[in-house]
């Protein structure tokens, strides 16, 4: 595969969330507001990229029978680092994300890329693959966070956009359902619907 494809494909044709259906848990739980969604997207991207590179460097020395445990150790070490950095520099966001930072360990995107790609490819290709998949995941998270915060609380990044536009004076109401968990599922369903109508070959 060409290097540009490694970055490009995960955005649409092989998107981790829309097509591979991996890493759903965190994508739904942290997107009620834009800020935690962006922080989560960055954290996952960092972990995927670093884990991919490290496992790819180690790939010839890992015995196949214990590879899952080796992968888990590498990933959980990286996640502990991310967790500590978030706690030190962005304590409020880290509180909001609660257990979902820790759950990056079991995020299927990370394990999936390690198993499918980093175990058999060179470090540079693995780096690009991790970056592509991390960004493909980030795009969906940011779209969800944007829509849910805008329609659910009328703000963006905490800034009261709709209030400044004066929409409340003419009778606009926030849609409380948008910040509820089930709405995230329905939104992802709709995004998948739109995405597959544009890419007919992905239909089941």
């Amino acid at each position: 595969m060409k290097n540009t494809d490694l970055i490009k494909l995960p955005f649409s044709k092989n998107n981790p969330i829309l097509v591979q259906v991996l890493g759903i848990c965190s994508c739904l739980a942290v997107t009620a507001q834009l800020k935690p969604a962006v922080v989560m997207a960055l954290s996952v991207t960092v972990v995927v990229v670093l884990a991919n590179v490290i496992i790819s460097l180690l790939r010839n020395t890992i015995p196949p029978r214990i590879r899952i445990i080796v992968q888990l150790v590498v990933v959980s070490t990286l996640v502990v680092l991310v967790d500590q950095v978030l706690k030190a520099y962005m304590y409020d966001v880290s509180k909001q994300l609660s257990v979902f930072v820790g759950l990056i360990i079991t995020n299927c995107i990370v394990m999936g890329r390690l198993e499918a790609f980093a175990m058999v490819q060179k470090p540079w290709a693995s780096f690009l693959d991790g970056l592509g998949n991390g960004l493909g995941y980030s795009v969906i998270l940011i779209v969800l966070g944007f829509v849910r915060e805008l329609f659910g609380s009328g703000t963006l990044w905490g800034y009261p956009v709709l209030e400044k536009l004066g929409l409340y004076n003419i009778g606009y109401e926030n849609n409380g359902l948008m910040i509820m968990p089930p709405m995230a599922l329905i939104l992802v369903g709709i995004i998948i619907w739109i995405h597959r109508s544009r890419n007919k070959e992905l239909c089941e």
Binding site: V21, L22, I24, A29, Q84, P181, P182, M183, I192
Partner: protein, 204 residues
């Protein structure tokens, strides 16, 4: 009475799937038939029931700030809680392995029924999530923790069997091709989540 409350609460109000979206990947991948989803649900419940109390004991006697004071008073101000992610995932991976070997030895029938699902549970986020929630919510004793673990597992089981039953029926419905499969499953899970939201706010 407290035990019953925690048990009921973790099945319906704090349902792993509908309130926190944990274990979504296997929930979406394995819910094609009722039979396999029942097997996976039982396996997840079983693993939760063992790992969460074990991790509770580890947390209480090794990881928490000052937890090591039972070894010697000199260790009273040691705080190892930053290690909890790595230790929890190691415990889960090890216990899943042991459970698999024990079941294979003593109950080949159950082993065949659970099949490939057992080893996959190590990377199910509902299991790690159970341990992390246990740490966060601060349950008073091991009895409460066990009730919480059992309730979360049964809640997960109910959710996956429910969606599998609906998906079996869905095979005979006319769904737009782009929405078929994953898309419609997301939307139905969202609707089921809205139904489960009616339990929210009930104080028990």
């Amino acid at each position: 009475m407290e035990y019953v409350n925690i048990f009921i609460k973790s099945i319906f109000i704090d349902n792993m799937i509908f309130a926190f979206f944990l274990g979504m990947c296997s929930y979406l991948a394995v819910s094609k038939t009722v039979k396999t989803s029942l097997g996976l649900g039982v396996a997840v419940t079983f693993v939760l029931l063992i790992t969460v109390p074990v991790n509770y004991l580890l947390d209480k006697y090794i990881l928490q700030a000052g937890a090591l004071s039972w070894v010697s008073p000199a260790l009273a101000d040691v705080d190892l809680s930053f290690l909890s992610l790595i230790l929890f995932i190691a415990v889960i991976a090890a216990i899943v392995q042991i459970v698999e070997m024990v079941i294979e030895k003593y109950s080949p029938a159950l082993y065949n029924a659970l099949g490939i699902f057992l080893p996959l549970i190590a990377v199910n986020c509902a299991v790690l999530g159970g341990s992390l929630f246990m740490q966060q919510r601060g349950y008073a004793n091991i009895g409460e923790v066990t009730c919480f673990a059992l309730g979360s597992g049964i809640g997960w089981l109910l959710a996956i069997v429910g969606i599998a039953a609906i998906r079996e029926k869905l095979r005979y419905s006319a769904i737009p091709p782009a929405l078929k499969g994953v898309g419609i499953t997301f939307i139905i899970t969202g609707l089921m989540g809205i139904a489960f939201m009616s339990f929210m706010g009930i104080k028990i």
